[in-house]
């Protein structure tokens, strides 16, 4: 509810004679334009020319990483789906066909159009299975094509793994508990 005392009425200031002519403003604008005519060109003729990414951790198209055996590394824990502020990740989990893992994603869809590329999914992933790649030229002919499924996301991995290798997570676990790394816990010398 807006109260009357909250409303401030602002009068439009009256223009002087010079301002009403608009000429000083036009000249000022043209000055800026001409100044730039003699400066170094900063535009790039995309897509013929491509600019180098200024940051290493550019947040582009997602990929689903593969583990050492070439299987999807995701364990379908839904953490990325939970963390996603744009609700663009849809996972269907299932019992995994492999003995060393409990759960895997039967279906893993990311709506790249809905995504805001915030990277929260990457942060949330406990096994670093989902990562954002430096790939930014995301084009398609339909909205449907922009919904990336598991296969497509694994393809992105195959395409970009040389440019950006998987982080290889150090999972905080202990030897002998399922599919954990063989690292010894800190401070364990025997």
């Amino acid at each position: 509810m807006i109260r009357d005392e909250d409303i401030i009425i602002v009068e439009t200031p009256e223009l002087s004679a010079a301002e009403r002519l608009y000429l000083p403003q036009i000249i000022g604008g043209m000055q800026t334009t001409f100044r730039h005519l003699f400066k170094k060109n900063i535009t790039v003729q995309y897509p013929e020319q491509k600019r180098e990414l200024r940051v290493e951790n550019y947040r582009g198209v997602h990929r689903l990483n593969r583990d050492e055996q070439g299987r999807v590394a995701c364990v379908a824990c839904f953490m990325c789906q939970t963390a996603c502020p744009a609700h663009c990740i849809h996972i269907v989990g299932e019992e995994s066909p492999w003995p060393d893992r409990e759960k895997y994603p039967k279906q893993f869809d990311i709506d790249e159009l809905r995504c805001i590329y915030c990277g929260m999914c990457e942060e949330a992933c406990p096994v670093d299975a989902i990562e954002l790649t430096p790939e930014y030229n995301l084009v398609s002919r339909s909205r449907q094509e922009m919904i990336f499924d598991k296969e497509k996301l694994l393809e992105v991995h195959d395409r970009t793994v040389d440019v950006k290798p998987r982080k290889n997570p150090r999972i905080t676990g202990y030897p002998g508990t399922g599919n954990r790394s063989n690292e010894q816990p800190p401070g364990d010398d025997h």
Partner: protein, 540 residues
């Protein structure tokens, strides 16, 4: 009533209940695993230990006992002084949590219990952040202990709630605890899987992710689910349940505490019996037939079409040749609205109670107990509201009959117009009734699935599943229990209550509560239907 002092605060509670229960009821969050109000006390988890004042054996002076006592096993006595906010108690809780987590696989990301797990909650609240366990963890692969349940021994805290459940409530003794010490685990006997009609409750009583439903396994993470209080429509017992849904898909049903009806439990038949809700074959739109051509009218036009058809029929054939069959799957409110409409257009119409599906005999648990000593009962009447529609039929007065009499009269050609309500998850139409359709010039069918009657009907109205409606069911003891809408109706359909509300001549939105207020004016039974279901004694 007794007055006891917990942490310097005096509370009143009933005499003889465990101190733990009194503290939980008064709002304390005392960690506990083995204690469950529906099971016997074993005091084995040692998490709920407290300090207590007792007279000194020599001087008789009141003082704190140097050892900790289990609050779940200590009954309340008047004047008792106990405390939980001491270092001794907190140290004990911390050490206990460390022991529980010694072999824990920390697989929370793939564990279905994560989010409603008391290992997580208590570890966060009462435990420590890091584990000091340096040796290899003792691992134990998951076990298939029954057709519907999995056991992950790794995650087990050995509270033996599940064992006590099969001993004390189901009386089937399938589960036991084998081995001792660090090798102790829950197991079934060889060749005797966990398979009894109420075995699903072991998953509910399990405070951790050790026992899991195969049906729900990996389907959803629990934090995506929204729970709605409801009543199970599987039998006439009227168990209070919670419908867990996400984006209008029901993923599981869980029992709600309902003293005197189902207490903490529910049966597997009810628990897994909701699958028909998402059946693609359900009728999802009204159908209007004129001769051979069928059309789907707008919902806005339905009240007018129905009233016009009935009015026309009454004018032609008289009002005593109309019958209404009230299904026991209907809520009381819906049945009442339908009766109001029919009696409005045809005052001497016959009101009949619908088909009551039955199967087998009442099953009492623990197995082999006397019916009056049963802790849980599955009733043979597989519909939720027979008593309710009977009550409404009786109060309607005038011409009433039961289902068998209706079928007999209908076959004999006593009726030329009928409104038959189905809404059963299974096939239900008796053969005789199909034959009677040739006498029915105006047949309105309200049903969930296609059958011989919906094929013959002039107007077909989709009946919705109970999770899509709201209203109240009267159980076999005459207790009226309200239930709420959990999910939206399928596209194209409308809630039964809503269109019946409009057909009965009311405007606006239907709500069970609103109709109950109208009903209470003529039926005092409905004036005191509590909308808030009883609160659970404690959450797990």
């Amino acid at each position: 009533m007794a007055k006891i002092t917990i942490d310097h605060r005096v509370i009143e509670c009933s005499d003889g209940i465990p101190v733990l229960q009194a503290a939980l009821d008064a709002g304390w969050d005392i960690p506990h695993y083995c204690y469950h109000p529906g099971l016997t006390v074993v005091a084995s988890c040692r998490l709920c230990l407290m300090e207590m004042q007792l007279p000194h054996p020599k001087t008789g002076e009141m003082g704190w006992v140097p050892k900790l006592l289990p609050s779940c096993q200590t009954p309340v006595r008047d004047g008792m002084v106990v405390r939980f906010d001491s270092d001794l108690v907190r140290d004990n809780q911390k050490s206990c949590m460390e022991y529980f987590l010694i072999d824990h696989p920390l697989d929370c990301p793939v564990c279905d219990q994560a989010g409603e797990c008391h290992l997580q909650d208590y570890s966060y609240k009462f435990g420590s952040a890091a584990s000091r366990m340096a040796d290899q963890k003792h691992t134990n692969p998951k076990k298939d202990i029954g057709p519907k349940t999995l056991l992950y021994s790794d995650r087990c805290v050995l509270c033996t709630r599940c064992v006590r459940f099969t001993e004390e409530v189901s009386g089937t003794h399938e589960l036991c605890s084998v081995n001792r010490g660090s090798r102790q685990e829950i197991d079934v006997f060889p060749g005797m899987p966990l398979d009894n009609p109420i075995q699903g409750n072991v998953v509910d009583v399990c405070p951790v992710g050790s026992l899991l439903d195969k049906d729900f396994l990996f389907k959803q993470r629990v934090w995506f689910l929204d729970g709605t209080p409801s009543i199970c429509p599987g039998c006439s017992a009227g168990c209070a349940i919670r419908v867990d849904q996400n984006e209008d898909v029901v993923y599981r049903l869980k029992p709600r505490f309902n003293p005197g009806v189902n207490d903490w439990w529910m049966c597997d038949e009810g628990r897994f019996g909701y699958k028909y809700v998402h059946d693609a074959k359900r009728i999802a739109a009204p159908v209007l037939r004129r001769g051979a051509d069928a059309t789907t009218p707008d919902w806005e036009a339905i009240p007018e079409i129905v009233s016009y058809r009935f009015a026309q029929h009454v004018a032609k054939h008289g009002d005593d040749k109309i019958a209404v069959v009230l299904s026991p799957m209907m809520a009381c409110e819906e049945a009442w609205l339908l009766v109001k409409f029919i009696r409005g257009v045809a005052p001497s119409a016959t009101i009949a109670t619908g088909f009551v599906p039955t199967s087998g005999e009442a099953q009492h648990f623990p197995v082999g107990c006397k019916p009056d000593e049963a802790k849980f009962t599955i009733l043979p009447e597989k519909c939720p509201n027979r008593r309710g529609v009977e009550l409404i039929t009786e109060r309607a007065g005038g011409n009433t009959c039961d289902f068998d009499a209706f079928v007999k009269q209908a076959v004999g050609g006593a009726y030329s117009g009928a409104w038959i309500v189905g809404g059963y998850p299974d096939e239900w139409v008796p053969k005789d009734l199909t034959k009677a359709t040739k006498h029915l010039k105006l047949l309105v069918m309200q049903d969930m699935f296609e059958n011989t009657l919906t094929e013959a009907a002039a107007i077909v109205l989709p009946a919705c599943a109970w999770v899509e409606r709201d209203g109240s069911f009267m159980n076999h003891t005459g207790k009226i229990q309200p239930f709420e809408r959990a999910v939206r109706v399928p596209q194209g359909a409308r809630r039964d209550g809503q269109y019946l509300f409009e057909i009965a001549g009311h405007g606006g939105l239907y709500s069970g509560e609103r109709v109950r207020e109208m009903m209470a004016e003529e039926m005092s039974e409905f004036s005191e239907v509590g909308d808030a279901p009883p609160k659970p004694v404690h959450q797990h």
